[in-house]
Symmetry: C2
Subunit: 323 residues, 2 copies
């Protein structure tokens, strides 16, 4: 008789639990010292309310019914619930508002892909501050918190989450072709992207732009010499880089003009956190200036979420490498 648990979930035994807790506590202490108060929200919410935050993500969630037949969904992140809390419990509180969380979230997985179905997220949300100041604060804090958690080699990739979408629009690429192209980009499947771009009715120069942009990845030099739409995006990222330099973390960031995040609510800069010791992202985030407005309180905002389990794996991998 076996007693399986669902793929993408895990039993965490005491030795590992102690290590995960140590990481959580160090990160939390760093967030709280910086003025980010911890919030907890229910795991089950009305699906209709979560949908106000993000239509697309709501469909992928685990749904159930309450005793009255209302549809409940397991949260798939903490950004939407915190936006709801800000609009309701903090409706009369002057911004800026700073919150952190350490909470489990759930996402649908394909069997076999090995993606987690349940994961422990630790993150921050900074509400009410425009770019690039909020981005700089959140990224400097993220880098410091990971250092507190024992990482030394971690880096943050920074892109503009709306750039590629706007570019597709400006070039007149039909809207129905966008999702597949963005999907290639978010999977970093540049071969497939190339194939799909080749099939679009565009001038050679335009196709070239769509294929080359995602390859622009590196330090500050990536931000030089661009014009048009790309020039506008790069202008904002340059200002962010200056602030990060002032915070002493300018050398920890990688600009990546092909970076897009799967969630639909990002409106500006997007982030992805890496560690060269492991082959997966530790987390990510970005600017979401429209999400709070959907709950009735129009405020700019920016946040990062880290997968604590992956942070732990990265820390162990760094140690193994003599990090």
């Amino acid at each position: 008789m076996t007693h399986p648990i669902p793929p993408g979930t895990r039993d965490v035994l005491p030795d590992e639990m102690r290590e995960l807790r140590a990481i959580t506590e160090r990160m939390r202490a760093r967030f709280e010292d910086a003025g980010y108060g911890e919030i907890h929200t229910p795991a089950l919410e009305y699906e209709e309310v979560l949908r106000r935050g993000e239509e697309r993500a709501a469909g992928a969630r685990y749904r159930t019914f309450d005793e009255q037949g209302n549809v409940l969904a397991l949260r798939s992140d903490m950004t939407i619930p915190i936006a709801r809390v800000v609009a309701t419990r903090y409706a009369d509180v002057e911004p800026p508002l700073r919150f952190c969380y350490f909470a489990r979230a759930w996402r649908a997985v394909d069997r076999g892909v090995g993606e987690p179905r349940e994961f422990l997220q630790g993150g921050v949300e900074l509400i009410g501050i425009p770019p690039p100041e909020a981005e700089a604060e959140v990224l400097a804090l993220t880098i410091a918190a990971l250092e507190e958690a024992g990482l030394r080699r971690h880096r943050v990739g920074i892109g503009d989450g709306s750039l590629y979408r706007r570019l597709l629009g400006a070039l007149g690429v039909p809207a129905e072709a966008h999702p597949a192209l963005l999907e290639c980009l978010s999977r970093r499947d540049l071969v497939e992207l190339d194939r799909r771009v080749a099939g679009l009715r565009l001038a050679d120069r335009e196709r070239e732009l769509l294929v080359r942009l995602p390859e622009l990845r590196g330090g500050r030099r990536v931000l030089e010499g661009a014009d048009g739409l790309v020039g506008d995006a790069v202008h904002g990222l340059r200002a962010l880089h200056e602030l990060l330099e002032e915070c002493g973390v300018g050398d920890r960031v990688i600009f990546d003009l092909g970076l897009v995040r799967q969630l639909g609510y990002y409106t500006g800069a997007v982030f992805e956190v890496y560690d060269p010791a492991v082959g997966f992202a530790l987390g990510g985030g970005g600017r979401y200036d429209e999400l709070l407005g959907r709950f009735g309180r129009q405020l700019p905002a920016c946040g990062v979420a880290l997968d604590v389990q992956r942070v732990h794996l990265a820390q162990a991998a760094e140690e193994a490498l003599g990090g």
Copy 2:
């Protein structure tokens, strides 16, 4: 536009969160010092696997489907998942085994009753030790952990979870009448119990026993002068009381011969944790000697689960009373 959350769930804001965390950390430190290693298990499990632990409780859970159409259920406690972990991940480890947890669990609620749908449970499981040693260890630890969390007035009610069931059987009360009688008892509705017992075909002396037993509640003197089935149960409780006296917590316990717990897996002593400063139980537990066998590893076991939020309310209420 309002953005409600389901009845029985809560948003926890930073001030309260800090206090809940302080309680959690103090209780966990006490559990770990006593050799109880913390375990985490997935919130979503296969319903079929959870059902192996307890048929009745499984029906009340929130159910959803995975991508292959399997039924998943949100755990309603941590005792069944830990029994599963012991039978699988610790299959070859010699008992005794000691585990603790701090995890959310979910239960169905009736709207209007004001019961929590999601709650944070902290508890311990002691596996492989027979009565009354395990009960004494678990109860002394529970009392100490609550003291660590700031409580001073807390008490533990102790009963025999199978006594009333066995008594009903011995008196020949038809099995179909048992659930309603046990339900009255677990709600402590002695008026309704009286009414139902009056309708049973029994001798006056037998009816008297069924109605008086739940009224036997108090210190060690409750355990004196009983005979028959009640005498056997009382004998075990007397041995437990002696051990608790040795641990210096004999004066913190109340014997309660009408105590039954709703969950079906308790086979011996049952516990309920109170604080006179608040009108609700802070948690409970008991002995469950058959649960692990259902997962293929026959071991006696005993545990307690506390509702951390209620512990917090009790602590605040004690403070308000000048506790």
